[in-house]
């Protein structure tokens, strides 16, 4: 028995909607008119809220924010495939996904203005707060998924998101391997937006696709057009179905593009050309999805206008609420170091409050 092939693998790519909104009828997912509209509304709200946040940041009314224009299909469509009782484990660049999961825009604004209080999702307790240490949230997804089966929640699944850059971290590898071995119901969705700050994909990895990394773990991997909401939805839906049926985890690579800066602290002109950005404009996920809805006859310019008006009103209200909010109590951090009252902490709280009191007296702060 000499040199023989012992295994073959192939990586597939899914495109359903082309750049003009033309759908491949054989692959068109089975989504109701309501769901399609809901998804488009979410993507639009995300786009508009993102733009407003950028604006606020530029005016000094918000801290550093990660903007996300261009990735709306890649992060909104997957949420449509989830139930409220499924878990969402995100990174930091999925505003629209979080809003779909019940997070209020007011809270997002609070968070990015330096208040931990904004991390609380009052409407869904199966959505984790944003995660900044790259890929470190992926093992959590595995644990949540394992726990769901442990507790005999027979069909709960976990959707985890992360960027192309995060795939280089050890935690990405450890989590996917762990999930595969435990047969944990997790959908690992990579937002491959081509860049990690200034670092282009080709410096991040030599593999031609992120999807093929699934082969290392013996799990399915697929690449989808991440600017096509239908492709993203369909791939996630299939992975969710497999996970619900205890057929294990899936890795999905959504190929998309970050149209703006990494965060408001970043200057993308230092590392990429306008041409590159322009080329991606033609692939805008919103334009394409709108064209599809119009072709389907379920959308028109009146509805569009109304949607934009509604989104604006919603955003205005959130900004208004955020800016008129009373500051939270200063000593809240002491409440959450431990779940028990500890002398060391309480002594420090007392000192902290005494100091604040004195400052108030002296008119400082």
């Amino acid at each position: 028995m000499p040199l023989k092939t012992i295994d073959d693998f192939s990586i597939k790519q899914l495109h359903i909607l082309d750049e003009n909104g033309k759908v491949d009828p054989d692959l068109e997912p089975d989504l109701s008119e309501d769901d399609l509209k809901k998804l488009f509304q979410a993507m639009t709200l995300s786009r508009m809220a993102d733009a407003r946040m950028l604006n606020l940041q530029r005016q000094g009314r918000l801290g550093t924010i990660p903007v996300n224009k261009g990735q709306e299909a890649a992060f909104c469509a997957p949420i449509l495939a989830l139930k409220e009782t499924d878990w969402f484990v995100g990174s930091y660049r999925e505003l629209g996904a979080r809003l779909m999961r019940g997070e209020t825009l007011e809270n997002s604004l609070l968070l990015f203005n330096g208040w931990e209080e904004g991390s609380v999702n009052e409407n869904n307790d199966r959505t984790l707060p944003i995660s900044i240490v790259l890929a470190s949230q992926l093992p959590h997804a595995v644990g949540l998924a394992y726990a769901s089966r442990y507790k005999e929640e027979k069909d709960t699944v976990v959707l985890a998101m992360f960027g192309d850059g995060a795939t280089s971290e050890g935690d990405f590898h450890e989590a996917l391997n762990f999930a595969a071995v435990l047969n944990a119901p997790v959908i690992f969705l990579c937002q491959n937006n081509q860049y990690a700050i200034s670092t282009p994909l080709k410096i991040q990895t030599k593999s031609r696709t992120i999807a093929q990394k699934a082969i290392a773990y013996g799990i399915p991997g697929i690449q989808v057009d991440g600017n096509d909401a239908l492709s993203v939805y369909q791939a996630v839906k299939e992975a969710v179905d497999r996970a619900r049926a205890d057929e294990g985890p899936t890795l999905i690579e959504a190929v998309t593009f970050r149209m703006l800066m990494h965060t408001t602290a970043d200057d993308p002109t230092r590392y990429r050309s306008d041409d590159e950005v322009t080329a991606w404009e033609a692939k805008d996920p919103l334009v394409r999805f709108k064209a599809y809805l119009m072709k389907k006859g379920i959308w028109d310019e009146d509805l569009q206008k109304q949607l934009e008006k509604d989104c604006k009103a919603q955003i205005d209200a959130a900004v208004q609420a955020f800016e008129s909010r009373e500051p939270f109590a200063p000593d809240v951090p002491f409440d959450h170091v431990f779940g028990t009252k500890e002398d060391v902490i309480e002594a420090q709280r007392a000192r902290f409050l005494a100091r604040l009191g004195k400052e108030k007296e002296h008119g400082q702060n």
Partner: protein, 326 residues
């Protein structure tokens, strides 16, 4: 009550709590079929099965990370790091997530888990198997650090750690695993997270230690006692962080002298924090410098030399004697 060693004390505590609380599960490298390399998880796999006793891939970060996820979902994972020397691979999960999730989410998510890890020297092991790095964890807010010193407190403290609402790093002095036996009173447990144990009340000097050094410390005390008849107050710290400052300060105010014995390297070690709290609250009561007996600031030597470098009974004896005579 029969006398048992520390491994049995820990093992029994795990058996008991798993029998009574089915949200408790155990995970780590070789903890299942093999019962753990030190056999602390022996028999759990046979009794509770694969679902509750997980042999994991070798991936410390994912082990802790997955446990964090489980804890957020309402389970109480007890994670084993095979040796504390390999726990630094999960440092970022502990510092970046386990310790912060409560703060980050304003209590929406909490991480009640325990990370057990055998630590410390004296068992003729290979490199990375003999260090005492409790400070790494103790300097991390949101984490509790507990170190039992004997069979009598090991099991009860492990139980308390599992029931605690916060992440607890539970460091087990492997040198003490099988070196002596005690009875363990399950009925009236007096050990609690955050409380030091005053093992002996006295007026002449406060002697503080924890973990495996506790036993050497007691030996030294006995030796000095037999020579001088002094009355030491002996404190077994048990919880390193958050520290039981009140017990320490009250004792030093009474005795005016103090010796701290630690296996960790000297600089930036736990003794420094103890000295700092004494400085803060009892400096003017001190009749002698607080004496620290520690490992040197070298990379922990392999076993041919380790006995020369770890604090010895004679070092403690000398420190006590000199502090008494200062």
């Amino acid at each position: 009550m029969a006398k048992i060693n520390m491994v049995t004390s820990l093992n029994t505590a795990l058996h008991d709590i798993m029998a009574s609380d089915d949200t408790v599960l155990v995970m780590g490298e070789d903890v299942g079929v093999n019962g753990g390399v030190f056999r602390v998880t022996d028999g759990l796999y046979e009794k509770f099965g694969r679902k509750r006793v997980l042999d994991t891939p070798i991936a410390e970060s994912a082990i802790l990370g997955a446990a964090i996820g489980m804890a957020m979902a309402g389970l109480k994972p007890v994670v084993e790091m095979q040796f504390s020397g390999f726990s630094y691979l999960m440092m970022h999960q502990l510092e970046g997530n386990a310790s912060r999730m409560r703060t980050r989410s304003r209590g929406q998510f909490t991480v009640p888990l325990v990370v057990r890890m055998p630590y410390g020297g004296g068992v003729r092991a290979l490199e990375h198997h003999s260090e005492s790095k409790e400070v790494y964890w103790a300097h991390t807010p949101g984490v509790k650090v507990v170190i039992p010193s004997s069979p009598a407190n090991a099991g009860p403290l492990l139980t308390a750690a599992i029931q605690d609402p916060d992440p607890v790093v539970f460091m087990e002095p492997k040198r003490s695993y099988r070196s002596f036996k005690e009875t363990v009173d399950k009925e009236k447990n007096t050990f609690a997270i955050g409380k030091a144990h005053v093992k002996e009340t006295g007026k002449d000097i406060t002697i503080i230690s924890w973990g495996a050094m506790m036993r050497d410390t007691i030996k030294a005390v006995e030796a000095v006692k037999s020579k001088t008849g002094f009355q030491p107050e002996i404190i077994d710290l048990l919880t390193i962080s958050p520290m039981d400052v009140d017990t320490i300060v009250a004792s030093v105010k009474k005795t005016g002298r103090c010796v701290v014995v630690q296996e960790a390297q000297q600089s930036f070690g736990p003794a420094s924090e103890i000295i700092a709290v004494i400085n803060d609250q009892a400096l003017m009561y001190l009749e002698a410098p607080v004496r620290r007996v520690t490992m040197y600031d070298v990379v922990m030597p392999l076993f041919a030399r380790e006995q020369l470098y770890m604090p010895k009974v004679s070092d403690i004896d000398q420190a006590i004697t000199e502090t008494l005579n200062f």
